[in-house]
Each structure stands twice: as structure tokens, then as C-alpha cells.
């Protein structure tokens, strides 16, 4: 477990500028009592299918972002292209904590029907920052 965490942090370090913001986010979640965080937990939650409130469709993070984070996604309804989520190819990701929290709020509510916990958010960030 410890190795995975250091692997994730190494990913953050490698991305230079974004390092501070992502570490601060992780620290913030840790301060709420969450952790340790793992990229693997993030990966499996990423593709977990949830039933929508109407029950007619299932959805996951991958519905719009795809399963390969180094590739662009596509909004499942409007078709609008979405820049890749992976830090390794898109260094603008996770640089603005307010933006990160806004999208977590919106997208977790749409996908899971509730807001994500600090544990889940930390795992997702580890997943996005692990090359």
C-alpha cells in the first residue's frame, strides 16, 4: 500500500506545476480523516456502473471520460469533446482546486446520485495522477 501511495505522489511530482494543488487537495481529504488513497481503488470506481434515478440507464465516470484517461472523452449527451483527464498528457488538470471541487460535485451527483466522499475523491485524484 505504501508503495502505491509513493507511486501516486511520484506522479504528482513529475507534473511539476500541478504538484502543489493536487497535493493540497489530497492533504485536505486526509485532514477529514480519509485515506490512505489508492489509484487502483480510483480506477475500479471509475468504471463502476450506477443506475440513474429514473432507472432507465446506467452511468459511470467513463460514460463521458472514457476508460483511457490519456484519451479525450465525449459528453454522453451533448457530444462535446472533453480534454483528457490524465495528468501525464494534460498538465492543466487539477491545477485549480475550486474547479476540481465544482466538477466533483456536479459529476458525482449525476453519476452516483450523491456527492463523493473525501476518500473517493482522493482515490480518483491518485488514479488521474498515476502515469
Amino acid at each position: 500500500m505504501k508503495m502505491k501511495i509513493s507511486f501516486g505522489i511520484a506522479g504528482l511530482v513529475a507534473t511539476g506545476m500541478a504538484y502543489g494543488s493536487a497535493v493540497n487537495l489530497i492533504e485536505g481529504y486526509r485532514n477529514t480523516g480519509a485515506g490512505p488513497f489508492s489509484p487502483d481503488a480510483g480506477r475500479s470506481a471509475w468504471t463502476h456502473e450506477h443506475h440513474s434515478s429514473s432507472g432507465v440507464d446506467t452511468r459511470s465516470c467513463a460514460s463521458c471520460h472514457g476508460t483511457d484517461l490519456t484519451q479525450p472523452g465525449r459528453h454522453v449527451k451533448t457530444g462535446k469533446p472533453i480534454e483528457p483527464m490524465a495528468f501525464s498528457v494534460n498538465s492543466a488538470r487539477l491545477t485549480d482546486p475550486k474547479k476540481v471541487e465544482k466538477w466533483f460535485r456536479r459529476n458525482c451527483r449525476w453519476t452516483l446520485g450523491r456527492e463523493c466522499t473525501p476518500q473517493e475523491k482522493g482515490d480518483f485524484i491518485q488514479f488521474m495522477t498515476t502515469p
Partner: protein
């Protein structure tokens, strides 16, 4: 004395010509075009280069000029110009962002206030450009949320477009996907000469 008379004469003529423009309330393509001309010439927010490049195709709906709107709303879908719906419809949309056409589009209070103000100040009934004004009749449907695609003007303009080239076309998918066919939609230009339906080609009726 002579000078005074000529000034008065010019003033009367100017008022008369303004009156002639104002009285052309009948909707027709030709008047529409003429109005574009006048409004375009009086537009002060465009630079020369834009004017040169789009000499034949001027914007007929005012461009999106609010960065918060462009970022927040344009993040998920085409940033529809405020002139495409009347203010009352924008109000309904802003009042229900948590249930936004099946998506959660909630904003923080500061951004919501800014975007609401921008939309209302530039809504169809406030617009100077004529195509935007045509949208001021608003949404005629009893839908829960108003839609640009159900406004009377939109439906009339698209009545001859078969569903197979839009809904049945994977590259378009929906009438809400303006820029799929209106390649210059983000420049506020919607005239039919710019239309290119993916897989079907130009549309000129």
C-alpha cells in the same frame, strides 16, 4: 438664415428616414437582410479584421461575450448565445440548474448571479440583431424547461430538415447541436449558406 433652413431640412429628412426603417415591422427575408446591413454597420464591438473576413456572412446573433458563461455553460455544451431565448426562458433555466435537462449544472451563487445577469441583459427581446429578435416569442411547448429548439422561429426555420439528417445522423444527433451543421454558430452566424450537414453536404433551400 439659409444655413438654419438647410439644417432643419436635414433634420427632418433624417427623422423621416429613421421612421421608414422603424416602420418596417413586417417580417421578410429582404427586410431582414436590410436590417442586418444597418445594424451591422452600427455595431461597434467588432474589429476591422472580423468585418473583412465575414463580409458576406455577418453575425445575426450577438456573440457570447461573458467569460464565465462561456466557461461554465460552454464546458458541457455549445454556449448558446443569450439572444436565442427570451429572458423569461433564461430565468426558468437558471432557476433549475440542479435538474438541467437531465444533468447537474449547479453553479456557486456568485457565478449564477453573474450568468443570470448576462443572459437577461442580452436575451432575445433585448437584442438589436434581427435573428435574435425573432427568438423573443420564446418556447411554445409545455415542456418543463424551455428549449431553443421548440421556439416558433426555430421550428419554422427547420421545418424542412428531415429527422434522418439530424437525429438519425450520428455526427449530429440532435437539433440542439447547432455547430454540427451551422459551422459558424460560435461566431453568431446562422444563415443557411453556412450550413453543412455532416454526411449530406450543403443545405440551401
Amino acid at each position: 438664415m439659409k444655413k438654419t433652413i438647410s439644417i432643419i431640412a436635414i433634420a427632418i429628412l433624417s427623422i423621416a428616414s429613421i421612421g421608414a426603417v422603424m416602420s418596417s415591422s413586417e417580417w421578410s427575408e429582404r427586410e431582414d437582410e436590410e436590417r442586418y446591413e444597418k445594424e451591422y454597420e452600427s455595431d461597434d464591438h467588432e474589429d476591422g479584421s472580423f468585418r473583412g473576413a465575414w463580409l458576406e456572412s455577418r453575425e445575426d446573433v450577438r456573440l457570447v461575450e461573458n467569460e464565465t458563461y462561456q466557461t461554465e455553460c460552454g464546458g458541457c455544451h455549445f454556449a448558446y448565445q443569450p439572444g436565442l431565448l427570451p429572458g423569461k426562458d433564461w430565468e426558468s433555466i437558471m432557476d433549475s440548474l440542479v435538474e438541467h435537462y437531465g444533468d447537474d449544472a449547479s453553479l456557486d451563487e456568485l457565478q449564477a448571479t453573474e450568468i443570470r445577469g448576462y443572459l437577461l441583459n442580452n436575451a432575445a427581446e433585448r437584442a438589436r440583431l434581427s435573428r435574435a429578435r425573432a427568438f423573443s416569442a420564446g418556447s411554445a411547448s409545455g415542456d418543463i424547461l424551455p428549449r431553443i429548439t421548440t421556439t416558433r422561429y426555430f421550428r419554422r426555420e427547420h421545418s424542412e430538415i428531415p429527422a434522418r439528417v439530424v437525429r438519425g445522423n450520428a455526427e449530429v444527433g440532435s437539433f440542439s447541436n447547432c455547430q454540427a451543421c451551422h459551422r459558424t454558430a460560435d461566431a453568431g452566424i446562422y444563415n443557411e449558406h453556412q450550413v453543412l450537414i455532416p454526411g449530406f453536404g450543403k443545405w440551401d433551400d
